[in-house]
Subunit: 360 residues, 4 copies
Amino acid sequence: MRNTLGHNITLTIFGESHGPYIGATLDGVPGGVKIDEDNIRALLAKRRPQGKGETPRVEKDEFSIISGVFNGYSNGEAITILIPNSNTHSSDYQSELARPGHADYVANEKYHGFQDYRGGGHFSGRITAAIVAAGSIALDMLNSKKIAIGAHIEQLGTIKDARFDPIFPEIEQVNAKDYPTIQDVGETMQHEAEFAATEHDSIGGIVEAAITGLPVGIGETWFSSLDGELSNAMLSLGAVKGIEFGAGFELANMKGSEANDPLWMEGDRAITLTNNAGGVNGGMSNGMPVIYRMVVKPTPSIGLPQKTVDMKAKDNAEISVKGRHDPAIVRRIVPVVRALSALVVVDLLSLQYGREYFAK
Amino acid sequence: MRNTLGHNITLTIFGESHGPYIGATLDGVPGGVKIDEDNIRALLAKRRPQGKGETPRVEKDEFSIISGVFNGYSNGEAITILIPNSNTHSSDYQSELARPGHADYVANEKYHGFQDYRGGGHFSGRITAAIVAAGSIALDMLNSKKIAIGAHIEQLGTIKDARFDPIFPEIEQVNAKDYPTIQDVGETMQHEAEFAATEHDSIGGIVEAAITGLPVGIGETWFSSLDGELSNAMLSLGAVKGIEFGAGFELANMKGSEANDPLWMEGDRAITLTNNAGGVNGGMSNGMPVIYRMVVKPTPSIGLPQKTVDMKAKDNAEISVKGRHDPAIVRRIVPVVRALSALVVVDLLSLQYGREYFAK
Amino acid sequence: MRNTLGHNITLTIFGESHGPYIGATLDGVPGGVKIDEDNIRALLAKRRPQGKGETPRVEKDEFSIISGVFNGYSNGEAITILIPNSNTHSSDYQSELARPGHADYVANEKYHGFQDYRGGGHFSGRITAAIVAAGSIALDMLNSKKIAIGAHIEQLGTIKDARFDPIFPEIEQVNAKDYPTIQDVGETMQHEAEFAATEHDSIGGIVEAAITGLPVGIGETWFSSLDGELSNAMLSLGAVKGIEFGAGFELANMKGSEANDPLWMEGDRAITLTNNAGGVNGGMSNGMPVIYRMVVKPTPSIGLPQKTVDMKAKDNAEISVKGRHDPAIVRRIVPVVRALSALVVVDLLSLQYGREYFAK
Amino acid sequence: MRNTLGHNITLTIFGESHGPYIGATLDGVPGGVKIDEDNIRALLAKRRPQGKGETPRVEKDEFSIISGVFNGYSNGEAITILIPNSNTHSSDYQSELARPGHADYVANEKYHGFQDYRGGGHFSGRITAAIVAAGSIALDMLNSKKIAIGAHIEQLGTIKDARFDPIFPEIEQVNAKDYPTIQDVGETMQHEAEFAATEHDSIGGIVEAAITGLPVGIGETWFSSLDGELSNAMLSLGAVKGIEFGAGFELANMKGSEANDPLWMEGDRAITLTNNAGGVNGGMSNGMPVIYRMVVKPTPSIGLPQKTVDMKAKDNAEISVKGRHDPAIVRRIVPVVRALSALVVVDLLSLQYGREYFAK
C-alpha cells in the first residue's frame, strides 16, 4: 500500500528530494539478524553518481539507523534508517512549469498544488537511496540462506551487454564490478552517456536481474505471485516502464515446443534444461534462476528546450530543465533493483517459512 | 494477498479446474450498483473457446450470484459468484508426470504432493472465468463514470495487428468484435492457430490494452502505483510473462528528447502530444489513455512428445500432453485482461474517492 | 478488511440470512492438512439451536466444501465452504420498520436502501455458521500442535458459572458438553432463557474463552497484537459489546503489587504464579493460558412492543418483532468464539513460523 | 500489521525507549491539509508527566516533521515525525531480570535475547508520544468535519468520576482540562497516585472516550467494524486489558427490552433515546455518540520487591524495579486514546468517502 511494500516483512519509505531527510522503515525482521553497516554503505556507494555521464549532485549518503538495531543485531522491531539530504539546490526548481516526462503535472492535480515540487519531491529517484539501505539488510538475510541477487546493465543507449546465462547467471561477477556489465562494455557505455550530456539530452536502457538459490514454490498462486510482486516492485520506479521474465516478449514468436522448458532429474530434484520461463511457473519459483529484465526510460530531465505547460497561468510554455541531472540513470538503478527484489523475496519467504526462518 | 486482489474493493477467487465449482467474491461494492447479468454472460462468452483453433472443452459458464445482490442491485455486501465445472475429463490427467511449462512440478513440491493435479487444479486458466464474471461488474461500475477499458490481440504467432492509436485508442471497435483486432487479421490469426493444432503444437502472442477516461492522479506513489498494480494483476496470469507501458521496451532505444511527451493545454487541462509514457507518470494516471502490452506465452499443453520427469519415481520420462487444449489462448485472455484491469482501477479509484464514488 | 480476516491465513465470508447460501473461504492453509468433515459437522451442531429457549429456525447446516480439498486433505489452495439456507421465512420481515438493537437503520442509510433487509441480511448471526465451519479446520490445525481453545457460558441472565481456573482452565471439560458450563448450572440457565421467552423478552450474558499451548511470543507488538487481533475478531460479532483479558476491568481496583504476575522458573521456562495478565504481555503470548471474556448483549429481536421509526415514511412507529428468534444466543456464540479465536491464532502463528508450520 | 495501523490512511511507528529517536509515519493524508504544529505540541503536553504522582522522566518532546509537509500543509505524501529521546538513564536497566507485568520475558524469548531491554525498548509507553503526534493531525482532520473525540479518567484507583452523558458527552469540557475529569475529582485522584508512590506501589483505572459527529454507517460489517478496529487499536496499548462499548459488560444483566435503544425521528434522521449500544450497531456508527471504556492496569514498574526470574541464569530471583516510573499512567493515556481513535476513524472514513474527503 502506497509507501509500504510487503505483507509480513515490510518496507515503508518517506521523504522528499529537498526535505531534511529521506528514510525507510523495515519491519518484521526477527531478532538476531546481524546488521552490517559496511554492506549498506557499499550498496549506497553503487547507487551514487560517479561523475562520468552522471549527475554532479553527489550526496554523501551518511545514513543513521535510529531504531530496530541493538548492539549490531536486529532487536526484532522496526528498523528505521535516516539519510540526510545535504546537497540540495532548491532554487533550481520552479513550481509553475511542468517538466515533461516527470510527475509534476500529475502531482499538481492530485495534490491540489500542495505537492513539494522541488526536485520532484517524494517522486524523486533520490528516495531510492532509502530503499537501497533497507534492501541491503534484506540482501544480507538472503545471503545467509545462500540466495543471491545480481543485476547488470544489459543495454545503455545503443550499447548492449550480453544477457545472463539463463542457467548459471554471472551474479557474483557483475555484483563485484563498479560498472556492472558481463562483457567489457562499461567504458563504451559511459562514453555514450557523456556524449548524450554534451547534447543536453539523455539515454535509457535495460537492466537485467537474476535470483539464484530460491527454494521451489516461493510466491503464491495468483495475486501474490513471485513475478507479480516483483513486477509491482519494479514498476514502482518511475523510470521503469516494462518488465519481462525469462524469454519475455520473445515468447510471442515461439511455439510451445520451443518455449516449454524440458524437465530433467538432477539428483533428487528436477531442473529445466532451458529457462524460457525465467524460473517462474504458475507464479512460483521453480528452482531455476529467476531472470527478469526492466526497461529504463531515458532520464526525463534534459537541457534541450521542450514544449510544456505553465500550471499556474494555465498556458502553453517552453522549458529547458536546469539543475544537475544524470544523462543516464541505468547504472544507478542496478542496486535499487537488487534491493527491491531482495525485499520482495524476504517477504514471500517469510509467508511460507515464517519470520523465524531468518532468525539467528 | 494470495487469492485476494485489491485493498478497498477486493476480489477473492477460489476453485479448481476439476472441482465442482470455481468462484469469485467481490467485496466493497457500495449499495445500489446495478448488476447486469447479461453483461456478465456476454463477457464470459468472449472468454469461451470458439472452436477454431481453441479447446473443445466448452463450458456453459452458467453462473449464479449467491450473495451481495438483492433485487438486481448490489446490497453493499460481498458479491459471490459461482460457476459450476461441468465438462471435466479428469481421467485425462496423471499425477506422476509433470507437464513442461505448467506449474505441476512446483505445486507438487510446494504442496507436498497434496495438490489437485487434475487439469492444473487452482493454477488452471479455468479460474479466469470467475475473474471475468466479477470483472464485468467492475467494468460496469467504470462505465457509469465514463471510464472504458479495451483490449485486442496485437500479435498471434507470426500475424500482427496494428497497435492502438496512443491518443485515441480504438476501444469500442475492438470490444465489439468477437475476434478482437483493430485491423482485419482475425481470420489469418485463427488459421495460424489451427495450423499449430495440426502440428500438435501451440503459439503465443501479445495482448494490448487501453484505459480511457481515468481522472488525473489515480494510482499512488511507489508501491500502489497504477502501473505497478496493473503489472501485478497481469503477471498473476500464468501465461503472461511480461508487460510494458506506452513505448515500453522501445524506450531503451530512444533519447530523452524523443521519449518525453510534450505537454499542451487543451481547454483547462493539459494533454500530452505523444503518449510514450502510456498515460502514467510517477505511477499515476496523467489523463491520457493508459496503454499497456502483455506477452502471452504459447499454450504449454502440446501433443508433441516432451522431456519431463516422473515425480513419483523421481526419474526422467517423456510426455505427450493429452486432454483438450487451446493451441492459442491469446484471444481468450483478452476479456480476462479487461476484467482484471477493471478490478484494479475500481479499487484505486475507491482509495482516492471512496467506495461511495460508485454508489447510485 | 471488511469480510476478510487475517494476514497470511485468511478467512473471507459472504452470504445473507435469506439468500441461497452463506459461505467462507479459508486461504493460506498449506497442502496436506487433514480436513475432518465430522469435526466441522460437530462444531456446527454446537452452534445450532436446541429448542429450549432458542430459535425454532433450525437449519440442517449441510455444508459442502467446493474447493481447496482433494482426497480429504487440503490441496494448498483456497478452501471454500458453502452452507445452504433452507429454512427461511422471508415474509416475516418488513423493510420499513427498523428493529431496535439491530443494524437495520444503519444499513438502510449506508447502503441507500439497497441492503437485503430480510433477517438482517449479511449482518445476521446466521453468517457465523460459515465462520464456525472454517474455524473448525483452524481448530484442528492447532490441535495438531497441542494448542487448544475452549469456551463456556460464564453468565446467562442472572445465572453465573464459575470462571476458568486461570492456570489450568477446564477446556476439555467444557468443550465436551452440549451446554458448555464448568459448574452444573446449564439447566438453570436454560430455564432462565425459556422464561424470558414466555415474557417475549430476551437475556444476555458473558462467554469466557481460554487458549492453552501457545508458544511464547505469538502476536506482534502494537497493531497485530494477540489481544488486539482477538478483540477485533470478537467485536466483529454484533452481539459482543466488550472484551477483557485476565483480570480485566477488575484491574482498575488493584494495585501494581497485586496485579503483576510473579514469575517462576519451571524447568527451563518461566511461568507466572497468577494470571492476571490473561496470558498476554506487551501484546504477545507469555506461555500461560490466554483467558478472555466477552459480554453478549440480550438478543435484540423481542416480541414486546418497542418504539422505532418507519424508514420509508420517515416517521415514528412501534414494532413487535416477529419471526423465530433466540431469547438467548449466548450458548450458540460459544463455538463461534472458539472458531474465530482459532482463525486469529493460526494466522499469527503463520506470520512467525510460516504456513509450512502447519504442513503435514 | 505489526507497527502499521490502518488500510488507506496508515500509521507506522518505530523507535525504542532508549534509542536516539522514536517516530511515526502517517501515510495517505491528501494534499492541502493544514498541519498545526501547535496542536501537536499541545497534545504532547497533555501526555507529558506533570510531577504529581507521575514519572520524573520529563521529555521535552521536541518533535520535527521531516517529510510530507510543505509550507505548513500536507503535500500528499507520507508525513514522518521524529521525537528525540533525551532524558534516558539506561543504566537503570538490567537485561537479566524480567520485570513482572512487563514484556521483558516474552521479548527475550521471542527475539532470542536480542531485544533492546532498556526501558522496555519498543514495548515502552514512550512510543505513544509518536502516536500522539500523528494522532493530533488526525484529530485536526476530523475537526474540520465537525467530528470530535474526547476522553477522561473515569476511575483512578478508588476514586471515580461520572460517566459521559451518553447522548451529550462532555467532550469539550474534558478536553480543555489539564486533568481530564467531568466532576471535580482530579485533585483527589492525584493524591491517590502520590500516596501509591509513597508505598512504592501503583494504581490503575478506567478511561472513557466518546466520538461525536460521525456520519451514519462508518465501519464495515464484520472484520473492519468500527468497534472492532477501535478495540484492536486500544488493546495495542500494553496497559489496556479490556474495552467495552455503551452499556458494555452491564448488558449481561439487562433484558432485551431494557438494552435495546428505542429509535425516534428527529427531523429527517433517526436518533436513539438511550445509548446502550454506544453508538455502534452491526459494527457501524449509528449517528449517536460512540462511547467506550478501557481498563488501564496499574503501572507494572513498582519499587516493592517482587518474585521474578533471572533470564540468563534461568533461576528464580527477586526484583525491586528502579528507574523513574509513574505510579499511575491513566491520565497520560487519555491523549493516546484520543490520538489512536482519531487515526482509526480517519482511516475508516477514507475507505467510505476516499482520502479526498479530507482534502482542502
